[in-house]
Symmetry: C2
Subunit: 429 residues, 2 copies
């Protein structure tokens, strides 16, 4: 009999089909039994009715514990009130694998327990929805860039030099030498942009940060576009169009998932370019008034980001940051105390999701910056070559996949936005 | 003046436009000078003619050394004999960044020198073409799966357990504990497949192999689909359709690049499903006759792969391998000395590009396999859970991005198929 995925059952009304999945829920009364089955593409209610389903299956249905794997043969009926608009009238079924005492039950579990069982927790309705939003988000990001003249080129993960100092780097033994895990693909993306014009890297990045916040993972995924002949303003134009496309595409394609996640999408619907832009100095004026703990010239904390972003109903750019709080590779602003960086703050307290800026294109200024940051000039010889041989103004940004997914899903703890989160306490499963 | 990418110039014939790029080549005679400019999207011949271009630019053109970055304003003319079918009549130009003694000249350079200068080598015509084929290959791979019901879900890179023993693992200090860099996302993809049905992971994988062959990198990218309720035959059906789609799509979209690479594409044009399938035992019969060094029961070397694949004009599957040469997670064949693995060998001596198989779905057999391989059962407790709670037949495969790109491009050394190759001797740039 033809195997049909649950999402496609609505195209088979009146037909006999087979479904293959797992028992999501089971209810039983004297004459009728309901098995809700999931197969990864959806849920369907399967009905085992006395007199309609052969007796042997009616009795055997009592073995259908949560997460038992099962193949069911039956007839698809239209039934508007059911999940997915159809119901499966069971003719027979076969148990593929039993499931005794499945650890994750409908009752509440503590997070440490769920994290230990992440390999099973992924099957739960909400986690399932988040992962679908994640996949759609990444696809939308790549599609936008692929369709706008960008070339996807991976940056290396292992390398002998670091992007922003070594204090939060994971180190590996590499045949007797020390190799570091990438914190960002940017420097390599810059080299690729000089060859291809517009590029992006997509890959895992690592920070050995001991901070236990709901916004930090030790391993997270970043997408990092980099464009030759772009300045800061062109970069911000690109970012706002890119973010708008991603959010609106996911809103359109993941309606069901966002309902499951109980996400109020009214704020997301407003995420349409252009976005407001405010300089660091203007933001600092606001923060000095509203946040007694804010020190002008310093970096924004999560609370400061919220104060700034709350003034707008869209994501907001903050640009032109004090030089001292930014990486060595940022281009100087007209006022040399500042650099041409731009961060994008999401609304609703979700904070920074994009960090970017124009890169320093002067060889001499870059040497100055590397020395000033106490980095080893020899390690950056290849990076300096990009300024030695046909330097051009260029800019780029990095967008954190997990933070973006968390924002879109309305999930405040980032650990739920990646299949297998890595934090200071989680290296398993 | 409007900035136009070189690939789009043909849509602007008769118009005045600006291009922004780098000097690729410069030829000069008494009354006319030709600057070939590259901008990552293509090449265009720019003509500086005495009497047509103002004298100040005619004289200044002598400064246009290789890789000088330059903005040119001029008029686009149709000129069929030129690269890209157009020519730019220069009205003025501005040098953005000089380039003195660019290290990579049209003369031959040794590979160690080119590898040290990979950040610049990427700008060369052939390397540029390979990277474009690479990006298109990855996009085709993802598109095929996205359009066929698969969910892209990343596997973790850092983890406490290994997939196939620890001898070729890179290890990191993880807050005082040992973490390994992923050799494969498969085990995690299996967990995701139990939640989502059909999934794929895409990411970097690592092998600390000391072998210096032209087919090995220490860091390489893999795409690994995994499907619940699939057996070995369904897996091979999927692989041949997937590989056919990828190869035919790249052939169609990267014609110019394959010409630059001087690739004879006649063999690639034949890569259309179905592919021949031969059991290990039948392949061993052939090898015993043709290769005196082949030992039945052992793994194939590169030379053996070539002998087998040469018999066919398409990629060929070898399936049902001796248990002793495969990982602990393979499902037993009917004859328990064998397991349900399948490798796909590319034609023209490009060797194995896909490895896959059906996974062991029996809890007891899997425990046996883990013990037999001397692995720590406790490390695989979570993986065993997938067989404890609703186990299902499932299968999957891994395809190496670099080997596939090498095959399509006809490039025999894998180091040219990734932006920044990592080998035992190359951790920089």
């Amino acid at each position: 009999m033809k195997w049909v995925y649950i999402k496609d059952l609505k195209d088979h009304i009146g037909q006999d089909v087979a479904i293959k999945g797992w028992v999501y829920n089971f209810r039983s009364s004297k004459n009728i039994k309901f098995v809700i089955v999931r197969d990864g593409t959806g849920l369907v209610q399967s009905v085992i009715a006395k007199g309609e389903t052969p007796d042997e299956f009616f009795d055997k249905a009592e073995e259908l514990t949560q997460e038992t794997s099962i193949e069911i043969q039956g007839t698809i009926k239209s039934f508007e009130r059911a999940i997915g608009g159809v119901e499966l009238g069971v003719k027979s079924f076969k148990i593929i694998g039993k499931s005794v005492d499945y650890p994750i039950t409908p009752k509440e579990h503590g997070t440490p327990f769920l994290m230990e069982n992440r390999h099973l927790w992924l099957r739960s309705k909400k986690q399932h929805a988040i992962m679908r939003v994640r996949a759609r988000t990444i696809k939308a990001m790549r599609d936008y860039l692929d369709n706008n003249g960008f070339l996807g080129l991976e940056s290396p993960i292992l390398s002998a030099n670091s992007c922003e100092g070594t204090s939060t780097l994971f180190a590996c033994d590499y045949f007797g030498e020390k190799a570091y895990l990438s914190q960002s693909g940017q420097l390599y993306a810059e080299a690729s942009a000089m060859a291809h014009g517009k590029v992006y890297t997509f890959g895992p990045t690592f920070r050995a940060e001991k901070s236990k916040t709901r916004r930090h993972l030790t391993e997270f995924w970043m997408l990092e576009p980099e464009m030759a002949y772009y300045d800061l303003e062109m970069n911000m134009d690109l970012i706002e169009n890119f973010v708008s496309y991603v959010v609106q595409t996911v809103l359109k394609d993941c309606k069901d998932e966002l309902v499951i996640l109980e996400r109020d999408t009214s704020s997301l619907q407003k995420v349409i370019a252009p976005f407001p832009r405010i300089s660091y100095s203007d933001a600092a004026d606001i923060l000095e008034k509203e946040c007694p703990d804010f020190v002008r010239g310093g970096d924004f904390g999560a609370a400061h980001e919220t104060v700034v972003s709350q003034r707008y109903d869209k994501p907001v750019f903050v640009y032109d940051f004090p030089k001292v709080i930014k990486g060595f590779y940022f281009k100087e602003s007209k006022d040399p105390q500042f650099v041409r960086g731009c961060d994008l703050l999401a609304p609703e307290g979700f904070g920074e999701i994009v960090g970017g800026g124009q890169r320093e294109d002067s060889y001499e200024k870059l040497v100055e910056g590397i020395n000033h940051h106490g980095l080893n000039l020899e390690d950056y010889k290849w990076y300096l070559d990009l300024r030695k041989y046909g330097t051009v103004p260029h800019a780029g940004f990095g967008i954190g996949v997990e933070r973006t997914v968390g924002w879109i899903c309305g999930v405040h703890h980032i650990r739920e936005t990646i299949p297998f989160p890595r934090t200071i306490n989680n290296l398993r499963p």
